[in-house]
């Protein structure tokens, strides 16, 4: 690996602290997008079933 890149990931000895901060933020922020997306899918499916039943009646 190039020394500059190695140095960048090393973060002057603070690699663990810096990278875990950024990683943690990334995980939490992405989770907060995925959860409502999944929930919306489930809700839309259950409403679609409900609508379908109504139409059959």
């Amino acid at each position: 690996m190039l020394p500059e890149i190695q140095e960048f990931f090393h973060m002057g000895g603070y690699a663990f602290y810096v990278w875990s901060s950024y990683g943690l933020c990334f995980i939490v922020l992405v989770l907060n997008i995925i959860i409502p997306l999944c929930r919306e899918k489930v809700i839309i499916r259950s409403i679609a079933i409900q609508v379908h039943r109504k139409q059959q009646k």
């Binding site: 960048f8 973060m11 002057g12 000895g13 603070y14 602290y17 810096v18 875990s20 901060s21 950024y22 943690l24 933020c25 939490v28 922020l29 907060n32 997008i33 409502p36 997306l37 929930r39 919306e40 809700i43 839309i44 259950s46 409403i47 679609a48 409900q50 609508v51 379908h52 109504k54 139409q55």
Partner: protein
């Protein structure tokens, strides 16, 4: 004017509008995040005292700002919903809570990851840290209250009252660094006359703050959309919307 507000406040129009807004703010958020992260990690200089660990502030400070802002949104929307009985405001208040709790958690966790190498301790019972921890408990209490009360209207009312009482904590967090002698540093950006932060660090910090703001707007609207669909599942517009989609 009132008619416009009423139109916006109708769940059907709000749903359509929020779909558009999520796209715009989501796009802006992605661009700002990329610019902010690159600026923070690559182009901003290391601090003369803290070295490279200063890069943690680009995620810590926006998280902390947003943890306060989201609380104000939650309490404000809850109060409007409480007084004028606007359903969408209740939904926005409820959707804000998990996001606010996430931002508060991130502020505490990244602060702790910065504190270990800089202060030598993961945690100290400093006024700023303690009041921020109380904020986390307020959010968690609000979420617990929402899931404990089954009737959505009652839950919204109880939540709004809890949020209003807890708002006392917001100025306490903000001024804690001035009122008490804390280990946590004082404000560096909000001193408008002369911010004591170098412009090369200020720019990525503000980019990240904007990214977080756009993120919050799109994420809260996504949650609100889900809640609206679930609440209004028996109404005509939801039936039409889903009927059209499934065809």
């Amino acid at each position: 004017m009132l008619r416009h507000i009423n139109q916006f406040a109708s769940p059907k129009n709000f749903y359509a509008l929020s779909c558009k807004l999520v796209h715009y703010f989501g796009g802006a958020c992605l661009l700002l995040f990329v610019a902010g992260v690159f600026g923070g990690l690559l182009f901003s200089p290391p601090d003369y005292q803290q070295g490279e660990s200063v890069r943690i502030i680009y995620v810590h400070v926006p998280s902390a700002w947003m943890s306060l802002f989201v609380y104000i949104v939650m309490a404000g929307a809850g109060t409007i919903g409480l007084i004028w009985r606007i359903k969408i405001m209740d939904v926005i208040a409820r959707s804000s809570a998990p996001l606010g709790a996430s931002f508060t958690f991130l502020a505490l966790a990244t602060g702790s990851l910065w504190g270990k190498p800089m202060w030598g301790a993961w945690w100290v019972w400093d006024a700023r840290l303690t009041s921020e921890l109380i904020l986390l408990f307020l959010y968690l209490g609000y979420i617990a209250l929402q899931s404990a009360i089954e009737d959505p209207r009652m839950a919204a009312r109880a939540g709004a009252i809890l949020a209003l009482i807890g708002i006392i904590n917001i100025p306490i967090i903000h001024f804690s660094v001035e009122w008490w002698s804390t280990l946590h540093q004082g404000p560096t950006v909000s001193k408008l006359d002369a911010p004591s932060i170098h412009i090369d660090m200020l720019i990525p910090l503000l980019l990240m703050a904007l990214a977080y703001m756009c993120y919050f707007i799109s994420a809260v609207l996504m949650r609100a959309r889900c809640d609206l669909l679930a609440l209004e599942r028996n109404s005509a517009w939801v039936g039409e919307l889903i009927g059209e989609r499934s065809r």
